[in-house]
């Protein structure tokens, strides 16, 4: 009975959301067609749909999508490879913390997009340079959250481990500190994906690359095809949403199952 009621409840909640979207689409279409009456200033949903189909048929969207995902993967991958080990070193060892902390505090507030000139100089017009800008945005949330996660590992877990023969530093990190810090690391990665995605668009906009969702958004703006621009805007939003959903539903359930009973 309760189950049915909650099912009905979620359906009703979903419907409310769908109603809001439909309402927004209708309002948008009416506003565009009857009030603005200029598809350059405000393309309506119908124009956008047609542009979407045409872009899809020409194969441009798929290429852009692949290129952008590659940029994103390079940036996020590098951020994980560098951010997590440094975060672990600083969180576990106070000497490493003292050594690296000032440097990181100076580099961290530099907006990732300020690195674009050097991205171009160092890596040229390659996927790596877009990846580098994304890396600069994604690495600090990962590093800082790994660091705080490791700092917060309860001493009792480490001591319980020592009593059970977990005495080597590497084992203590692998079997005790890392799993204990994982919720914090994961939330850092989740923040990093959001920041990285925003950096991706900007990195491609500034000509670091020849393809990609952000690059072609700019390209179609230059052609004054605003309906295509909206297609790219929506796609960028949807991909960002999809990445976040992966975290919310897959990663949390797969790796942080043990936290379900806790007040997180």
């Amino acid at each position: 009975m309760n189950l049915i009621r909650s099912r009905v409840h979620t359906i009703r909640e979903r419907w409310l959301g769908v109603v809001a979207i439909v309402f927004a689409l209708v309002a948008w279409q009416c506003y565009a067609v009857f009030i603005i009456r200029n598809s350059f200033l405000l393309p309506g949903p119908g124009d956008v749909l047609l542009a979407f189909i045409s872009l899809l048929q020409r194969g441009i969207l798929l290429t852009d999508f692949k290129v952008s995902l590659m940029h994103f993967a390079i940036g996020l991958g590098m951020a994980l490879l560098i951010g997590i080990p440094i975060g672990i070193a600083m969180g576990w060892n106070s000497r490493a913390d003292e050594f690296l902390n000032p440097l990181i505090e100076i580099l961290r507030p530099i907006p990732p997009l300020a690195w674009i000139p050097f991205a171009i100089i160092w890596f040229g017009f390659t996927p790596v340079s877009a990846g580098f800008v994304i890396f600069m945005g994604a690495v600090f949330p990962i590093l800082i959250n790994t660091y705080t996660g490791f700092r917060g590992v309860s001493r009792i877990f480490v001591e319980a481990g020592r009593m059970l023969g977990c005495t080597r530093t590497w084992d203590q990190i692998r079997y005790i500190a890392f799993p204990a810090a994982l919720p914090s690391v994961v939330s850092g990665v989740r923040i990093a994906t959001g920041v990285g995605w925003m950096c991706l668009v900007a990195a491609e906009l500034f000509g670091v690359s020849n393809n990609g969702l952000g690059k072609d958004l700019w390209f179609f703006y230059d052609l004054h095809q605003m309906d295509s621009v909206v297609v790219y805007m929506l796609l960028l939003g949807l991909v960002g949403l999809a990445v976040d959903m992966i975290f919310r539903y897959y990663i949390d359930r797969r790796f942080l199952k043990w936290r379900t009973g806790e007040v997180a």
Partner: protein
């Protein structure tokens, strides 16, 4: 075997003003093989410090701790510990918590599970094999902690007020279970508590520490036959004796 000799143990900590706070002052005693000893004392008397040194988690300033002829320097699989706080790894299921020490020794999965399951049955939690610690009550968590410490088959089991956070009913039940486990596994047990009732119910001997600095005040032998009935007049009498002696001799002077 599980014979412990503690000789002239001293420990002090530096205070902010540069002076030293003496925590343990010339503590010496022996624990016989398979004996159940309670260390009784008020908060801050250094009983946890003492236990941590026996565990090898801390080093004493001077003095020696000898287990079966070998001096304790650092943690060892011969000594198991149950902590006062909940110390189970929350990211590991019950069975993986119990098997942790065996995993650290490099034992294969099915073999360590087989051993861990034996200890899981010993603490009567077979149906919670795959649960996570957050799904267990406080009493169950401490039972898993006991199983985890026993899985490495230590000769000496240290317990630091393990039932302190539990309600009285659960606590009595776990004391009973602990004695049964001790009977089956034949371990030497050192148990820290500030409850006279608990000490009288469990121990072969009770070592009473004075508060700050911790010194041995009295050592009682509890000669009551087992199983002990905590409502019986003899039990009450022993408890009163212990309490009286503590009040006269072992309180803050």
């Amino acid at each position: 075997m599980g014979k412990l000799e503690i000789r002239d143990l001293n420990q002090s900590f530096a205070k902010d003003d540069g002076s030293r706070l003496v925590v343990l002052d010339h503590v010496s005693f022996d624990v016989k093989d398979k004996e159940f000893v309670c260390i009784l004392g008020s908060s801050g008397c250094g009983k946890t410090t003492l236990l941590r040194m026996i565990a090898g988690l801390d080093t004493a300033e001077s003095g020696s701790i000898i287990l079966d002829g070998n001096e304790i320097r650092g943690t060892s699989p011969k000594v198991g510990m149950v902590f006062q706080e909940y110390s189970l790894f929350p990211w590991r299921s019950v069975i993986d918590n119990i098997a942790f020490g065996l995993e650290m020794q490099g034992m294969k999965k099915d073999e360590r599970y087989r051993i861990a399951e034996r200890y899981l049955n010993l603490v009567n939690l077979a149906q919670f094999r795959d649960s996570y610690p957050s799904e267990l009550s406080g009493g169950m968590r401490q039972r898993v902690a006991v199983a985890r410490a026993l899985a490495l088959d230590p000769v000496l089991l240290l317990m630091d007020e393990p039932f302190g956070a539990l309600d009285a009913q659960t606590r009595n039940m776990l004391q009973q279970e602990l004695l049964e486990i001790k009977e089956t596994t034949k371990k030497t047990v050192i148990f820290i508590t500030h409850s006279v009732d608990e000490a009288v119910f469990l121990s072969d001997r009770i070592i009473v520490l004075t508060p700050r600095p911790g010194r041995i005040c009295r050592i009682f032998s509890v000669d009551l036959p087992r199983p002990r009935d905590r409502t019986s007049p003899v039990f009450a009498q022993v408890r009163r004796e212990v309490l009286d002696l503590i009040n006269q001799n072992c309180s803050i002077q």
